[in-house]
């Protein structure tokens, strides 16, 4: 009995090691194949960064003129922007195929994933791995700019950097959970782009600004049902404004884990539904 259990554990450890190696190869080969078109790559990256920058510029100009929105300064709002961008980049770098599930459902490409010796989600994710340097550049630039000012004025200390990185990671996990839950609806409705427009695009845009802007029901929604408020706003309350307390971080960790677990259960339910009724 013990021997079988031990064998199972070493199997799993081996499988995990293989899976990590798989991703390392994927990252290496993705970079290599992108680098082959160096000029295109650089130009594309730059253009992407600039284009996305314009949305922040819009708001920055307003804030430069008016001073602050609901007590949040331009740099603080920039921080919210950057954290959301980087969290989203994390999510879409690794789990882009979850976001694109509609294509798999419409073209029946999910079937071949069911023949792999991995849970569907784990077979799905490597297929769409892609680097997003433009977004990294944009998010990083705005974050550096915001930090630059806030470090100078003493609003934050250097501790804010690792804290922010932590928030970006948990934020990415939360966005992943929201994306997975939205995609799962596709098992019933097939088309999910409109739903995604709301739960991902609209919600992420909303959370780039302090939640105090919105009516109570909306900010409540953005902290619970579609918890994008946990990505930037909640950590910023502590990191930038000293509100709440250090407990924010374990809460973020717990909330993101909970979100993912719930989304996973829903996903598994969706898969089993797919397996009994087909496409």
């Amino acid at each position: 009995m013990n021997e079988r259990k031990a064998a199972g554990v070493t199997d799993r450890r081996l499988a995990l090691r293989n899976y990590i190696k798989l991703y390392l190869i994927l990252i290496r080969t993705s970079i290599r194949s992108r680098m082959q078109y160096r000029f295109n790559f650089a130009l594309g990256t730059l253009l992407a960064a600039i284009i996305q920058l314009s949305e922040f510029l819009m708001v920055a100009i307003v804030l430069a003129k008016f001073g602050a929105v609901r007590g949040w300064t331009m740099h603080e709002v920039g921080y919210l922007f950057a954290v959301m961008t980087l969290a989203k980049t994390l999510y879409r770098t690794f789990a882009n195929e979850v976001h694109n599930l509609e294509r798999y459902l419409v073209e029946g490409e999910l079937d071949q994933l069911l023949t792999k010796p991995l849970p569907v989600l784990l077979s799905l994710m490597p297929r769409g791995f892609r680097l997003m340097p433009g977004e990294l550049l944009q998010g990083g630039a705005i974050l550096a700019w915001a930090f630059g000012e806030m470090l100078q004025t003493g609003q934050v200390t250097w501790w804010a950097v690792p804290q922010t990185l932590f928030a970006i990671v948990t934020g990415g996990v939360v966005l992943f959970a929201i994306g997975m839950a939205t995609a799962t609806c596709g098992f019933w409705t097939t088309r999910i782009s409109m739903l995604q427009n709301m739960t991902e695009d609209a919600a992420q845009t909303a959370a780039r600004y302090p939640l105090t802007l919105y009516p109570g029901w909306m900010s409540g929604l953005l902290l619970t049902a579609i918890p994008v408020g946990l990505v930037g706003y909640l950590p910023a309350l502590y990191i930038l404004r000293g509100e709440l307390g250090l407990w924010v971080f374990p809460v973020l960790a717990a909330a993101s884990c909970l979100a993912v677990l719930l989304a996973l259960r829903f996903w598994k339910f969706g898969i089993s539904k797919y397996q009994s009724t087909g496409s």
Binding site: L26, S30, E107, T115, L118, T277
Partner: protein, 350 residues
């Protein structure tokens, strides 16, 4: 469920178990009825009516280790539904499937590592990466050791001529090249059982020959069990010793290829043009019995001056048919056509 004893003697058990064992497989789908008439859109929001469509009815068969089986049938007959149930993609409504004794629906992950699947229309390779990178990634996905991977790829490279596009991104490959790469990918983890869904569709003659050769080697030299669905009867004739035909959700034939040919016979269409019209012995009938009742022929189509009939040339000689047809008018021209195997299957077994 695994018991201690079954774990103690694994190899002997595996030898005794059939590669594929399907018993009483059924699959029905509930499709919503599209409401008609007034306010149909709103009505469908509140209540939906469903019809049940039985895609697969009570299919059962056994495939032994080392068999090479063809699985054919007209489109919509339940072919792909059966394959999906066999590979664990779709859960059967009732019935059971066992692959080497393991149920792919209870134990999907365990089955998947012993299974190789090739979908003709889709690739499992990474679109933007060179072919060799896909193999590296897949090797890690299946836990294939580097030495094994190198050895196997070496063998496949020889048989499938992979080296010519080893470094090319998959999206730049021709269809034939991609199919060869996909088959090698499916065999990378050395599965005992290989499913192929229309692997030769759209390929040129050379590519088909190359792939058929590879499959033959896999079966005859490496002892792999192969189940092949196809619309190309040459695949069946050249590779399979056994063929199963599915029609209307049921297994309508399960036997050898020669047996199938014999059952179908040699249907031929004979089109005759008459000089001055013709008179049928009995008007309004599609089936004509010859004057001396030696054979029957179906009337497929007719115009004012032509008549097309179908006969089974295994039962009757062309000359006899023409002589009979000549009784009905003066023959000016004759054309003969053998409908392809696919069409016959559809007509006889669809």
């Amino acid at each position: 469920m695994e018991t201690i004893s079954s774990r103690a003697v694994p190899t002997v058990q595996a030898e005794r178990e059939a590669a594929i064992e399907a018993v009483g497989l059924c699959k029905s789908f509930k499709t919503p009825v599209v409401a008609q008439g007034r306010f149909s859109g709103i009505r469908s929001l509140f209540s939906r009516e469903y019809t049940t469509k039985e895609a697969v009815r009570d299919i059962g068969f056994t495939v032994e280790k080392g068999d090479f089986v063809g699985y054919i049938g007209p489109n919509g007959a339940g072919k792909s539904t059966t394959i999906k149930m066999l590979t664990g993609i779709l859960h059967p409504s009732s019935g059971s499937v066992k692959l080497a004794g393991v149920d792919p629906h209870r134990d999907r992950l365990r089955c998947a590592s012993r299974l190789g699947v090739v979908f003709g229309q889709r690739s499992q390779l990474w679109w933007d990466l060179p072919v060799k990178d896909s193999y590296d990634i897949l090797a890690h996905m299946y836990g294939v050791k580097d030495t094994d991977k190198a050895r196997r790829l070496g063998e496949f490279a020889e048989l499938l001529d992979l080296r010519e596009f080893w470094d090319t991104p998959v999206r730049k490959l021709s269809l034939g090249q991609r199919m060869r790469a996909d088959i090698a990918a499916a065999m990378l983890h050395d599965p005992e059982l290989l499913f192929l869904d229309e692997p030769t569709i759209g390929l040129d003659v050379n590519a088909k020959r190359n792939i058929r050769g590879f499959l033959k080697v896999l079966n005859e030299e490496f002892g792999k069990t192969i189940l092949l669905t196809t619309h190309d009867m040459d695949d069946i004739e050249q590779l399979c010793r056994r063929v199963m035909v599915i029609g209307g959700g049921r297994l309508t034939y399960d036997g050898t290829v020669e047996g199938l040919r014999r059952e179908i016979g040699l249907p031929t269409e004979i089109k005759v043009t008459y000089r001055d019209g013709y008179v049928l012995p009995r008007q309004g009938d599609d089936l004509i019995i010859a004057a001396d009742s030696r054979f029957a022929m179906h009337i497929v189509s007719r115009t004012e001056s032509t008549l097309t009939v179908e006969v089974n040339r295994q039962e009757v000689r062309t000359m006899d048919v023409l002589r009979e047809l000549g009784h009905w008018g003066e023959i000016e021209d004759v054309e003969m056509r053998e409908p392809d195997f696919e069409e016959i299957i559809r007509r006889v077994y669809g």
